[in-house]
Amino acid sequence: MDYHFNFTIVWRHAWRLWWGLGLSLQIALASLAMGMVIGVVLAVAYTDGRRITRMLIAGYVEFIRNTPLLLLVYLVFYGIPSVGGFAYDATTSFIVTLGFYAGAQLVEVFRAGLDAVPPGVVDAGRAIGLTPLRNLFHVRLPTAFRVSLPALSNAYVSLFKDTALGSVIAVPELTHGAQWINFNTFRILEIYALLTPIYLVTGWIILAALRLLERRFAIVRPQ
Protein backbone atom coordinates (compact mmCIF):
# COMPACT_ATOMS: atom_id res chain seq x y z
CA MET A 1 0.00 0.00 0.00
CA ASP A 2 1.68 3.16 -1.15
CA TYR A 3 -1.10 5.70 -0.72
CA HIS A 4 0.09 8.95 0.78
CA PHE A 5 -2.44 10.98 2.65
CA ASN A 6 -2.51 14.62 1.68
CA PHE A 7 -5.16 16.69 3.37
CA THR A 8 -3.88 20.14 2.28
CA ILE A 9 -5.47 19.93 -1.16
CA VAL A 10 -8.71 18.76 0.40
CA TRP A 11 -8.72 21.62 2.91
CA ARG A 12 -8.57 24.10 0.06
CA HIS A 13 -11.95 22.83 -1.12
CA ALA A 14 -13.38 22.04 2.28
CA TRP A 15 -15.81 24.96 2.06
CA ARG A 16 -17.85 22.80 -0.32
CA LEU A 17 -18.32 20.33 2.53
CA TRP A 18 -19.40 22.90 5.11
CA TRP A 19 -21.67 24.57 2.63
CA GLY A 20 -23.09 21.19 1.62
CA LEU A 21 -23.59 20.23 5.26
CA GLY A 22 -25.63 23.38 5.79
CA LEU A 23 -27.75 22.64 2.74
CA SER A 24 -28.26 19.03 3.85
CA LEU A 25 -29.55 20.16 7.23
CA GLN A 26 -31.90 22.67 5.58
CA ILE A 27 -33.22 20.14 3.06
CA ALA A 28 -33.88 17.69 5.88
CA LEU A 29 -35.72 20.39 7.83
CA ALA A 30 -37.83 21.50 4.85
CA SER A 31 -38.79 17.95 3.95
CA LEU A 32 -39.56 17.14 7.58
CA ALA A 33 -41.92 20.13 7.69
CA MET A 34 -43.61 19.01 4.49
CA GLY A 35 -43.76 15.41 5.71
CA MET A 36 -45.35 16.53 8.97
CA VAL A 37 -48.11 18.40 7.18
CA ILE A 38 -48.80 15.37 4.97
CA GLY A 39 -48.50 13.05 7.94
CA VAL A 40 -50.91 14.94 10.21
CA VAL A 41 -53.53 15.52 7.54
CA LEU A 42 -53.50 11.91 6.34
CA ALA A 43 -53.36 10.49 9.86
CA VAL A 44 -56.50 12.42 10.81
CA ALA A 45 -58.15 11.47 7.51
CA TYR A 46 -57.24 7.84 8.12
CA THR A 47 -58.41 7.75 11.72
CA ASP A 48 -61.70 9.56 11.12
CA GLY A 49 -62.21 8.70 7.47
CA ARG A 50 -64.18 6.12 5.57
CA ARG A 51 -62.97 2.89 4.01
CA ILE A 52 -62.12 4.34 0.62
CA THR A 53 -60.07 7.14 2.22
CA ARG A 54 -58.21 4.60 4.30
CA MET A 55 -57.43 2.47 1.26
CA LEU A 56 -56.07 5.42 -0.71
CA ILE A 57 -53.85 6.46 2.19
CA ALA A 58 -52.63 2.90 2.72
CA GLY A 59 -51.85 2.74 -1.01
CA TYR A 60 -49.71 5.90 -0.80
CA VAL A 61 -47.87 4.60 2.27
CA GLU A 62 -47.19 1.18 0.75
CA PHE A 63 -46.07 2.69 -2.58
CA ILE A 64 -43.48 4.87 -0.89
CA ARG A 65 -42.40 2.20 1.56
CA ASN A 66 -41.69 -0.46 -1.02
CA THR A 67 -40.02 1.67 -3.69
CA PRO A 68 -36.30 2.53 -3.57
CA LEU A 69 -35.78 6.17 -2.59
CA LEU A 70 -33.37 6.49 -5.51
CA LEU A 71 -36.18 5.60 -7.93
CA LEU A 72 -38.48 8.14 -6.26
CA VAL A 73 -35.80 10.81 -6.63
CA TYR A 74 -35.52 10.10 -10.37
CA LEU A 75 -39.28 9.82 -10.77
CA VAL A 76 -39.93 13.26 -9.31
CA PHE A 77 -36.96 14.98 -10.98
CA TYR A 78 -37.05 13.44 -14.46
CA GLY A 79 -40.42 11.65 -14.66
CA ILE A 80 -43.00 14.16 -13.53
CA PRO A 81 -41.72 17.16 -15.56
CA SER A 82 -41.65 14.93 -18.66
CA VAL A 83 -45.40 14.38 -18.49
CA GLY A 84 -46.36 17.67 -16.84
CA GLY A 85 -44.57 19.92 -19.30
CA PHE A 86 -42.81 21.96 -16.63
CA ALA A 87 -39.49 21.90 -14.81
CA TYR A 88 -38.16 22.75 -11.41
CA ASP A 89 -34.66 22.92 -9.99
CA ALA A 90 -32.98 19.87 -8.49
CA THR A 91 -33.07 21.07 -4.88
CA THR A 92 -36.80 21.85 -4.94
CA SER A 93 -37.52 18.54 -6.63
CA PHE A 94 -35.43 16.70 -4.06
CA ILE A 95 -37.13 18.40 -1.11
CA VAL A 96 -40.53 17.47 -2.54
CA THR A 97 -39.40 13.85 -2.93
CA LEU A 98 -38.09 13.62 0.60
CA GLY A 99 -41.22 15.38 1.85
CA PHE A 100 -43.52 12.76 0.35
CA TYR A 101 -41.14 10.06 1.54
CA ALA A 102 -41.19 11.41 5.10
CA GLY A 103 -44.96 11.91 4.89
CA ALA A 104 -45.51 8.19 4.34
CA GLN A 105 -43.52 7.38 7.47
CA LEU A 106 -45.09 10.12 9.55
CA VAL A 107 -48.66 9.04 8.73
CA GLU A 108 -47.90 5.90 10.71
CA VAL A 109 -46.25 7.88 13.50
CA PHE A 110 -49.15 10.32 13.92
CA ARG A 111 -51.73 7.58 13.54
CA ALA A 112 -50.11 5.75 16.46
CA GLY A 113 -50.02 9.09 18.30
CA LEU A 114 -53.75 9.69 17.74
CA ASP A 115 -54.50 6.14 18.84
CA ALA A 116 -52.54 6.78 22.01
CA VAL A 117 -54.83 9.66 23.05
CA PRO A 118 -56.92 8.21 25.88
CA PRO A 119 -60.63 8.10 24.94
CA GLY A 120 -61.46 9.70 28.27
CA VAL A 121 -59.54 12.83 27.24
CA VAL A 122 -61.53 13.10 24.00
CA ASP A 123 -64.76 12.66 25.97
CA ALA A 124 -63.63 15.38 28.34
CA GLY A 125 -63.15 17.71 25.37
CA ARG A 126 -66.63 16.89 24.16
CA ALA A 127 -68.00 17.42 27.65
CA ILE A 128 -66.75 21.02 27.75
CA GLY A 129 -68.58 21.62 24.48
CA LEU A 130 -65.78 21.46 21.91
CA THR A 131 -66.86 20.81 18.34
CA PRO A 132 -65.12 17.82 16.72
CA LEU A 133 -62.77 20.14 14.84
CA ARG A 134 -61.90 22.13 17.95
CA ASN A 135 -61.50 18.92 19.87
CA LEU A 136 -59.04 17.81 17.19
CA PHE A 137 -56.96 20.98 17.29
CA HIS A 138 -57.05 21.68 21.00
CA VAL A 139 -57.06 18.19 22.50
CA ARG A 140 -56.27 15.30 20.18
CA LEU A 141 -53.48 16.74 18.03
CA PRO A 142 -51.50 18.40 20.84
CA THR A 143 -51.56 15.15 22.77
CA ALA A 144 -50.67 13.03 19.74
CA PHE A 145 -47.90 15.44 18.80
CA ARG A 146 -46.17 15.07 22.16
CA VAL A 147 -46.36 11.30 22.00
CA SER A 148 -44.80 11.42 18.53
CA LEU A 149 -41.84 13.66 19.41
CA PRO A 150 -39.13 10.98 19.75
CA ALA A 151 -40.17 9.51 16.39
CA LEU A 152 -39.97 12.98 14.83
CA SER A 153 -36.41 13.43 16.08
CA ASN A 154 -35.45 10.07 14.62
CA ALA A 155 -37.14 11.02 11.35
CA TYR A 156 -35.10 14.20 11.14
CA VAL A 157 -31.78 12.39 11.65
CA SER A 158 -32.84 9.77 9.14
CA LEU A 159 -33.81 12.45 6.59
CA PHE A 160 -30.46 14.14 7.12
CA LYS A 161 -28.81 10.86 6.11
CA ASP A 162 -31.14 10.52 3.13
CA THR A 163 -30.13 13.94 1.80
CA ALA A 164 -26.97 12.21 0.56
CA LEU A 165 -29.07 10.83 -2.31
CA GLY A 166 -29.52 14.38 -3.61
CA SER A 167 -26.05 14.02 -5.09
CA VAL A 168 -27.42 11.80 -7.88
CA ILE A 169 -29.35 14.74 -9.34
CA ALA A 170 -26.55 17.20 -8.52
CA VAL A 171 -28.13 18.85 -5.50
CA PRO A 172 -25.05 20.55 -4.02
CA GLU A 173 -25.43 18.93 -0.60
CA LEU A 174 -22.73 17.32 1.54
CA THR A 175 -22.10 14.11 -0.40
CA HIS A 176 -22.18 15.99 -3.70
CA GLY A 177 -19.55 18.37 -2.36
CA ALA A 178 -17.42 15.41 -1.37
CA GLN A 179 -17.77 13.88 -4.82
CA TRP A 180 -16.84 17.14 -6.49
CA ILE A 181 -13.63 17.24 -4.48
CA ASN A 182 -13.03 13.56 -5.21
CA PHE A 183 -13.33 13.99 -8.96
CA ASN A 184 -11.30 17.21 -9.05
CA THR A 185 -8.44 16.34 -6.71
CA PHE A 186 -8.44 12.51 -6.66
CA ARG A 187 -7.72 12.62 -2.93
CA ILE A 188 -10.20 9.77 -2.56
CA LEU A 189 -9.34 8.37 0.85
CA GLU A 190 -8.94 11.79 2.48
CA ILE A 191 -12.34 12.89 1.30
CA TYR A 192 -14.18 9.82 2.55
CA ALA A 193 -12.13 9.74 5.76
CA LEU A 194 -13.56 13.22 6.30
CA LEU A 195 -17.10 12.62 5.07
CA THR A 196 -17.90 9.63 7.30
CA PRO A 197 -17.13 11.39 10.61
CA ILE A 198 -19.01 14.49 9.44
CA TYR A 199 -22.19 12.43 9.02
CA LEU A 200 -21.54 10.55 12.27
CA VAL A 201 -20.86 13.54 14.47
CA THR A 202 -23.59 15.71 12.95
CA GLY A 203 -26.07 12.86 13.47
CA TRP A 204 -25.06 12.54 17.11
CA ILE A 205 -25.22 16.27 17.77
CA ILE A 206 -28.65 16.81 16.27
CA LEU A 207 -30.08 13.74 17.99
CA ALA A 208 -28.69 14.88 21.36
CA ALA A 209 -30.06 18.39 20.79
CA LEU A 210 -33.47 17.07 19.80
CA ARG A 211 -33.62 14.82 22.87
CA LEU A 212 -33.13 17.93 25.00
CA LEU A 213 -35.90 19.66 23.09
CA GLU A 214 -38.20 16.66 23.54
CA ARG A 215 -37.83 16.97 27.27
CA ARG A 216 -39.17 20.54 27.17
CA PHE A 217 -42.33 19.38 25.43
CA ALA A 218 -42.77 16.19 27.40
CA ILE A 219 -46.08 15.74 29.23
CA VAL A 220 -44.48 14.15 32.25
CA ARG A 221 -41.64 16.39 33.34
CA PRO A 222 -39.00 15.56 35.91
CA GLN A 223 -39.73 17.61 39.04
Binding site: M1, N66, L71, L75, L189, T196, Y199, L200
Partner: protein, 217 residues
Amino acid sequence: MIEAMIYALPFLGQGFLVTLAVSGLVVAGSLVLGLVLGTALAFGPVWLGLPIRAFADTARAIPLIVLIFTVYYGLPALGVNLSPFWAAVAALTLFKTGHVIEIVRGAITSIAAGQMEAAKAIGLSFVDRLRYVIFPQAVRRFLPPWINSVTDSVKGSALVSLVGVVDLMMAIQQVIGRTYQPMPLYLLGAIIYIAVNASLSVTSRRLEARFARVVAS
Protein backbone atom coordinates in the same frame (compact mmCIF):
# COMPACT_ATOMS: atom_id res chain seq x y z
CA MET B 1 -47.97 4.59 -21.36
CA ILE B 2 -48.83 0.89 -21.21
CA GLU B 3 -47.16 0.28 -24.60
CA ALA B 4 -43.99 1.89 -23.34
CA MET B 5 -44.03 -0.42 -20.34
CA ILE B 6 -44.62 -3.54 -22.41
CA TYR B 7 -41.89 -2.48 -24.84
CA ALA B 8 -39.43 -2.11 -21.97
CA LEU B 9 -40.12 -5.36 -20.14
CA PRO B 10 -37.79 -7.67 -22.12
CA PHE B 11 -34.88 -5.31 -21.52
CA LEU B 12 -35.32 -5.43 -17.76
CA GLY B 13 -35.03 -9.20 -17.19
CA GLN B 14 -31.26 -9.30 -16.86
CA GLY B 15 -31.20 -6.33 -14.52
CA PHE B 16 -34.00 -7.80 -12.45
CA LEU B 17 -31.91 -10.95 -11.91
CA VAL B 18 -28.93 -8.83 -10.88
CA THR B 19 -31.15 -7.00 -8.36
CA LEU B 20 -32.27 -10.34 -6.94
CA ALA B 21 -28.67 -11.61 -6.83
CA VAL B 22 -27.40 -8.49 -5.05
CA SER B 23 -30.28 -8.58 -2.55
CA GLY B 24 -29.86 -12.30 -1.92
CA LEU B 25 -26.10 -12.07 -1.38
CA VAL B 26 -26.46 -9.08 0.91
CA VAL B 27 -29.24 -10.65 2.95
CA ALA B 28 -27.36 -13.95 3.34
CA GLY B 29 -23.98 -12.35 4.05
CA SER B 30 -25.32 -9.86 6.57
CA LEU B 31 -27.36 -12.57 8.28
CA VAL B 32 -24.29 -14.76 8.89
CA LEU B 33 -22.03 -11.86 9.92
CA GLY B 34 -24.75 -10.22 11.99
CA LEU B 35 -25.58 -13.41 13.88
CA VAL B 36 -21.95 -14.03 14.79
CA LEU B 37 -21.13 -10.43 15.71
CA GLY B 38 -24.48 -9.80 17.42
CA THR B 39 -24.04 -12.91 19.56
CA ALA B 40 -20.48 -11.84 20.39
CA LEU B 41 -21.81 -8.41 21.34
CA ALA B 42 -24.44 -9.93 23.62
CA PHE B 43 -22.20 -12.43 25.40
CA GLY B 44 -18.62 -11.48 24.66
CA PRO B 45 -16.14 -9.57 26.81
CA VAL B 46 -15.91 -5.78 26.60
CA TRP B 47 -12.78 -5.75 24.44
CA LEU B 48 -14.72 -7.69 21.82
CA GLY B 49 -18.00 -5.84 22.29
CA LEU B 50 -16.66 -2.29 21.96
CA PRO B 51 -15.34 -2.57 18.39
CA ILE B 52 -18.49 -4.42 17.34
CA ARG B 53 -20.67 -1.72 18.84
CA ALA B 54 -18.57 0.98 17.19
CA PHE B 55 -18.87 -0.78 13.84
CA ALA B 56 -22.63 -1.30 14.11
CA ASP B 57 -23.28 2.30 15.16
CA THR B 58 -21.09 3.73 12.42
CA ALA B 59 -22.57 1.53 9.70
CA ARG B 60 -26.05 2.61 10.69
CA ALA B 61 -25.24 6.30 11.08
CA ILE B 62 -23.75 7.09 7.67
CA PRO B 63 -25.69 7.20 4.41
CA LEU B 64 -25.55 3.99 2.41
CA ILE B 65 -24.51 5.89 -0.69
CA VAL B 66 -21.46 7.25 1.15
CA LEU B 67 -20.51 3.73 2.25
CA ILE B 68 -20.81 2.46 -1.34
CA PHE B 69 -18.67 5.28 -2.73
CA THR B 70 -16.12 4.79 0.04
CA VAL B 71 -15.70 1.12 -0.78
CA TYR B 72 -15.91 1.60 -4.55
CA TYR B 73 -13.45 4.48 -4.81
CA GLY B 74 -11.48 3.78 -1.66
CA LEU B 75 -10.45 0.15 -2.13
CA PRO B 76 -8.61 0.68 -5.46
CA ALA B 77 -6.69 3.52 -3.81
CA LEU B 78 -5.58 1.01 -1.20
CA GLY B 79 -4.52 -1.39 -3.92
CA VAL B 80 -7.51 -3.72 -3.63
CA ASN B 81 -9.31 -4.24 -6.91
CA LEU B 82 -12.88 -5.42 -6.75
CA SER B 83 -15.36 -5.41 -9.61
CA PRO B 84 -18.14 -2.82 -9.20
CA PHE B 85 -20.56 -5.67 -8.49
CA TRP B 86 -18.55 -7.07 -5.57
CA ALA B 87 -17.58 -3.66 -4.25
CA ALA B 88 -21.27 -2.73 -4.11
CA VAL B 89 -22.25 -6.06 -2.55
CA ALA B 90 -19.49 -5.66 0.06
CA ALA B 91 -20.65 -2.14 0.95
CA LEU B 92 -24.32 -3.13 1.17
CA THR B 93 -23.40 -6.16 3.29
CA LEU B 94 -21.40 -4.03 5.74
CA PHE B 95 -24.31 -1.61 6.01
CA LYS B 96 -26.87 -4.36 6.54
CA THR B 97 -24.64 -6.22 9.00
CA GLY B 98 -24.75 -3.16 11.26
CA HIS B 99 -28.53 -3.46 11.37
CA VAL B 100 -28.59 -7.23 11.84
CA ILE B 101 -26.10 -6.97 14.75
CA GLU B 102 -28.47 -4.61 16.51
CA ILE B 103 -31.51 -6.83 15.84
CA VAL B 104 -29.70 -9.96 17.06
CA ARG B 105 -28.46 -8.25 20.20
CA GLY B 106 -31.92 -6.92 20.97
CA ALA B 107 -33.54 -10.32 20.44
CA ILE B 108 -31.02 -12.10 22.65
CA THR B 109 -31.07 -9.62 25.50
CA SER B 110 -34.88 -9.76 25.55
CA ILE B 111 -34.62 -13.33 26.84
CA ALA B 112 -34.81 -13.41 30.64
CA ALA B 113 -31.55 -14.12 32.49
CA GLY B 114 -33.21 -17.04 34.27
CA GLN B 115 -33.30 -18.95 30.98
CA MET B 116 -29.52 -18.91 30.73
CA GLU B 117 -29.20 -20.02 34.36
CA ALA B 118 -31.70 -22.85 33.99
CA ALA B 119 -29.81 -24.03 30.92
CA LYS B 120 -26.54 -23.90 32.85
CA ALA B 121 -28.14 -25.79 35.74
CA ILE B 122 -28.92 -28.80 33.54
CA GLY B 123 -25.31 -28.80 32.41
CA LEU B 124 -25.62 -27.43 28.87
CA SER B 125 -22.41 -26.07 27.37
CA PHE B 126 -22.35 -22.52 26.00
CA VAL B 127 -23.01 -23.57 22.42
CA ASP B 128 -25.83 -25.89 23.48
CA ARG B 129 -27.36 -23.17 25.66
CA LEU B 130 -27.55 -20.93 22.61
CA ARG B 131 -28.73 -23.68 20.30
CA TYR B 132 -31.46 -25.24 22.42
CA VAL B 133 -32.55 -22.48 24.76
CA ILE B 134 -31.63 -18.93 23.71
CA PHE B 135 -31.88 -18.94 19.90
CA PRO B 136 -35.21 -20.80 19.62
CA GLN B 137 -36.75 -18.14 21.84
CA ALA B 138 -34.88 -15.19 20.37
CA VAL B 139 -35.88 -16.05 16.80
CA ARG B 140 -39.43 -14.88 17.47
CA ARG B 141 -38.21 -11.42 18.46
CA PHE B 142 -35.66 -11.43 15.68
CA LEU B 143 -37.94 -12.16 12.74
CA PRO B 144 -40.24 -9.09 12.48
CA PRO B 145 -37.50 -6.43 12.44
CA TRP B 146 -35.26 -8.63 10.32
CA ILE B 147 -37.95 -9.11 7.70
CA ASN B 148 -38.34 -5.34 7.50
CA SER B 149 -34.63 -5.11 6.93
CA VAL B 150 -34.85 -7.58 4.04
CA THR B 151 -37.25 -5.20 2.27
CA ASP B 152 -34.73 -2.44 2.94
CA SER B 153 -32.00 -4.55 1.33
CA VAL B 154 -34.03 -4.94 -1.86
CA LYS B 155 -34.64 -1.19 -1.98
CA GLY B 156 -31.04 -0.41 -1.05
CA SER B 157 -29.77 -2.62 -3.87
CA ALA B 158 -30.92 0.07 -6.33
CA LEU B 159 -27.88 2.11 -5.24
CA VAL B 160 -25.52 -0.34 -6.95
CA SER B 161 -26.58 1.31 -10.22
CA LEU B 162 -24.60 4.37 -9.10
CA VAL B 163 -21.30 2.51 -9.49
CA GLY B 164 -22.24 1.09 -12.90
CA VAL B 165 -23.73 -2.27 -11.99
CA VAL B 166 -26.55 -3.03 -14.42
CA ASP B 167 -29.32 -3.93 -12.00
CA LEU B 168 -33.03 -3.26 -12.45
CA MET B 169 -32.57 0.44 -11.69
CA MET B 170 -29.75 0.78 -14.21
CA ALA B 171 -31.64 -1.23 -16.83
CA ILE B 172 -34.55 1.19 -16.45
CA GLN B 173 -32.20 4.15 -16.94
CA GLN B 174 -30.77 2.50 -20.06
CA VAL B 175 -34.20 2.01 -21.63
CA ILE B 176 -35.08 5.62 -20.81
CA GLY B 177 -31.85 6.63 -22.54
CA ARG B 178 -33.25 5.10 -25.74
CA THR B 179 -36.94 5.96 -25.53
CA TYR B 180 -36.87 9.32 -23.70
CA GLN B 181 -40.03 8.29 -21.85
CA PRO B 182 -39.04 8.38 -18.19
CA MET B 183 -42.45 8.31 -16.51
CA PRO B 184 -43.79 4.93 -17.68
CA LEU B 185 -40.43 3.31 -17.00
CA TYR B 186 -40.10 4.67 -13.47
CA LEU B 187 -43.65 3.60 -12.67
CA LEU B 188 -42.95 0.14 -14.11
CA GLY B 189 -39.81 -0.04 -11.96
CA ALA B 190 -41.79 0.94 -8.87
CA ILE B 191 -44.36 -1.75 -9.65
CA ILE B 192 -41.65 -4.41 -9.96
CA TYR B 193 -39.97 -3.40 -6.70
CA ILE B 194 -43.33 -3.32 -4.94
CA ALA B 195 -44.19 -6.77 -6.32
CA VAL B 196 -40.93 -8.24 -5.02
CA ASN B 197 -41.40 -6.69 -1.60
CA ALA B 198 -45.05 -7.69 -1.42
CA SER B 199 -44.25 -11.32 -2.12
CA LEU B 200 -41.49 -11.12 0.48
CA SER B 201 -43.86 -9.85 3.13
CA VAL B 202 -46.44 -12.54 2.35
CA THR B 203 -43.78 -15.23 2.75
CA SER B 204 -42.45 -13.65 5.90
CA ARG B 205 -45.87 -13.33 7.49
CA ARG B 206 -46.30 -17.09 7.05
CA LEU B 207 -42.88 -17.67 8.56
CA GLU B 208 -43.71 -15.45 11.51
CA ALA B 209 -47.01 -17.20 12.11
CA ARG B 210 -45.22 -20.53 12.21
CA PHE B 211 -42.73 -19.38 14.81
CA ALA B 212 -45.42 -17.63 16.83
CA ARG B 213 -47.23 -20.96 17.07
CA VAL B 214 -44.12 -22.79 18.19
CA VAL B 215 -43.52 -20.39 21.05
CA ALA B 216 -47.02 -19.64 22.27
CA SER B 217 -46.11 -18.02 25.54
